[in-house]
C-alpha cells in the first residue's frame, strides 16, 4: 500500500501531458511521467520516492507507436516491453528487452526502463548502437535529437520534458549482432554484466551496462575493437582500459569478476562478428 496520496493525470495528447506537468509542478508537486508504474509504485511503497503527481502516458498515441515509417523503426516510450519484444522489428532490442519476468514485462515500459531510476537501463543499449533519434516534448515544444546527445549514464531531460519515442534506421536493425547478459543467480536478477554488439559497415560497436554501474557507449572502446594493429586476443582488455572508467565493485560482483566477464563477452563477440 502506498501511504500517501497522489494526483493522477490521464492525458490523451502530448499537449495535455505537458500542461499537466506544468500544473502539477506549479502546485509544488513532485511530478513523474508514468508508463507501466512498476518502478514508481514499488519505490513509493518503500518510501524511496514520494510522487505528488503522476502523468499516465499510455493513452497518448505517439507514446504507444510501434511501426516503421520513412525507413525508420519507431518505438513509443509507453510500450510495455513484451510489445517491444513481440513487435520483433529490431532483433537485438527484442533480446535486450528480456529482463525481469514475463508478467512484469506486460507493464514495464520502454521509456520507464530507459528514463527510470534503476541504473541498468538495459534497453537503451541497442538504441545507443543504432544511431537512434529521441523524440522529446516539453514546455518549449517538441524536438528530435540524436540519443547519444541526451544520454550520458542516464537520459538528460529538461525539467518537464517527456521521452515520446525512439527511432532507428531500419538498415541497422538488420545488421549482425551479439548479446551477452550475466547475472549472479537467476535470470530474474539484476545483471552484473549486459553487453550488446553490432557490426555496421564493417565496424563493430559495443555498449554495455552493469559492468561500469551504468550504460556505456564509448568511441574509444569501439576504436580498440576495430584496430587491426592490435591482436584480436588483446583487444578485450585494451578496450576496457581505453574506456577509462572504474568497474563496479560491490556485493553483487567484484570488479575483477565483472572485468573477466566483460573480457569474455568481448572475446565472444569478436569471434562472432569479425
Amino acid at each position: 500500500m502506498i501511504p500517501h496520496n497522489l494526483v493522477y493525470y490521464r492525458p490523451s495528447s502530448l499537449e495535455e501531458a505537458v500542461a499537466a506537468y506544468r500544473e502539477a509542478d506549479e502546485a509544488g508537486l513532485d511530478t513523474f511521467y508514468y508508463g507501466g508504474g512498476t518502478e514508481i509504485l514499488t519505490f513509493a511503497r518503500r518510501g524511496n520516492l514520494k510522487p505528488g503527481a503522476v502523468i499516465d502516458i499510455k493513452h497518448i498515441p505517439e507514446c504507444m507507436a510501434l511501426r516503421e515509417e520513412g525507413g525508420r523503426c519507431l518505438f513509443g516510450a509507453g510500450l510495455p516491453l513484451n510489445a517491444v519484444i513481440e513487435g520483433g522489428s529490431f532483433p537485438l532490442l527484442s533480446r535486450a528487452a528480456v529482463i525481469v519476468d514475463h508478467t512484469v514485462r506486460n507493464r514495464l515500459s520502454l521509456g520507464g526502463n530507459i528514463a527510470g531510476r534503476l541504473p541498468y537501463r538495459e534497453t537503451v543499449l541497442p538504441f545507443l548502437l543504432a544511431d537512434a533519434e529521441a523524440r522529446l516534448v516539453g514546455p518549449d515544444g517538441e524536438r528530435g535529437v540524436p540519443l547519444r546527445e541526451v544520454f550520458d549514464r542516464r537520459l538528460k531531460l529538461e525539467s518537464g520534458e517527456l521521452l515520446i519515442s525512439l527511432s532507428v534506421p531500419r538498415a541497422i536493425t538488420e545488421t549482425p549482432w551479439f548479446y551477452r547478459r550475466r547475472v549472479r543467480k537467476t535470470r530474474l536478477d539484476y545483471p552484473v554484466l549486459t553487453a550488446c554488439f553490432v557490426k555496421v559497415e564493417g565496424q563493430i560497436r559495443a555498449a554495455t551496462t552493469a559492468a561500469f554501474g551504468f550504460p556505456v557507449w564509448s568511441p574509444r572502446f569501439d576504436d580498440v575493437l576495430n584496430d587491426g594493429a592490435i591482436p584480436v586476443s588483446e583487444r578485450p582488455a585494451r578496450a576496457i582500459d581505453a574506456a577509462g572508467l572504474r568497474i563496479a565493485d560491490n556485493a553483487r560482483a567484484s570488479a575483477a569478476y565483472r572485468r573477466a566477464l566483460l573480457e569474455s563477452a568481448i572475446g565472444e563477440a569478436l569471434d562472432a562478428l569479425l
Binding site: 500500500m1 502506498i2 500517501h4 496520496n5 497522489l6 494526483v7 493522477y8 493525470y9 490521464r10 492525458p11 490523451s12 495535455e16 500542461a19 499537466a20 507501466g36 508504474g37 512498476t38 509504485l41 514499488t42 513509493a44 511503497r45 518503500r46 503522476v54 499516465d56 499510455k58 525481469v100 519476468d101 514475463h102 508478467t103 512484469v104 506486460n106 507493464r107 535470470r187 530474474l188
Partner: protein
C-alpha cells in the same frame, strides 16, 4: 484529460460485472480488489512485483496487481481467481497436486490460464517463461508444470 485528486468513485469491470468502488488515486489494484471489493482470492505477497501472488488478468494479460493503480484500470476487463469457475487448469492443479499451502495458487492459476489461452500446447520453455514471475515455496514447481501440461 482525466484528473483524479482525492477520492474517486470508480467503475471497474471485474469478472464480467460492473463494480463501483471508492478509491484514492494512490491505491493499487491489489488493495482495491481485496479491501474495497472483498475479492480476497488475489493474495498479498511481496507487494514488490517479485512473487506473483497478486497476479490478475487485465484484458487477458497477466499483471501483478500490486504494481498497478486502480485508477488506471477504467475501461479494462479484469479477471481475478474468483472469475474462473471449474476451468481445465483448476481441475489439473487438483489432479496433479499443483499446490500445497495454496497461498501462491491463485496467482499461478490465473497466469497459467492466460498462458494456455495464448499457447494451448506450450513447451517447457514457454511454461517457464510465462510462470517465472510466480514463486512457490512448497511444491518445487513440478506439480505445477505437470498441471499446465495436462490441460
Amino acid at each position: 484529460m482525466i484528473t483524479y485528486r482525492e477520492y474517486v468513485a470508480l467503475s471497474l469491470h471485474i469478472n464480467g460485472e460492473d463494480r463501483r468502488v471508492v478509491v484514492r488515486p494512490a491505491d493499487t489494484l491489489l488493495h482495491v480488489l481485496r479491501d474495497g471489493l472483498g475479492l480476497t482470492g488475489t493474495k498479498v505477497g511481496c507487494e514488490n512485483g517479485d512473487c506473483g501472488a497478486c497476479t490478475v488478468l487485465v484484458d487477458g494479460q497477466p499483471v501483478k496487481s500490486c504494481m498497478v493503480l486502480a485508477v488506471e484500470m477504467e475501461g479494462s476487463e479484469i479477471t481475478t481467481i474468483e472469475g474462473l469457475h471449474d476451468t481445465a487448469i483448476q481441475r489439473a492443479f487438483i489432479q496433479e497436486n499443483g499446490f500445497q499451502c495454496g497461498y501462491c495458487t491463485s496467482g499461478f492459476i490465473v497466469n497459467a490460464y492466460a498462458l494456455l489461452k495464448a499457447h494451448p500446447n506450450p513447451d517447457s520453455d514457454t511454461i517457464r517463461t510465462w510462470l517465472e514471475g510466480n514463486l512457490c515455496r512448497c511444491t518445487g514447481y513440478e506439480g505445477i508444470e505437470r498441471a499446465v501440461k495436462a490441460v
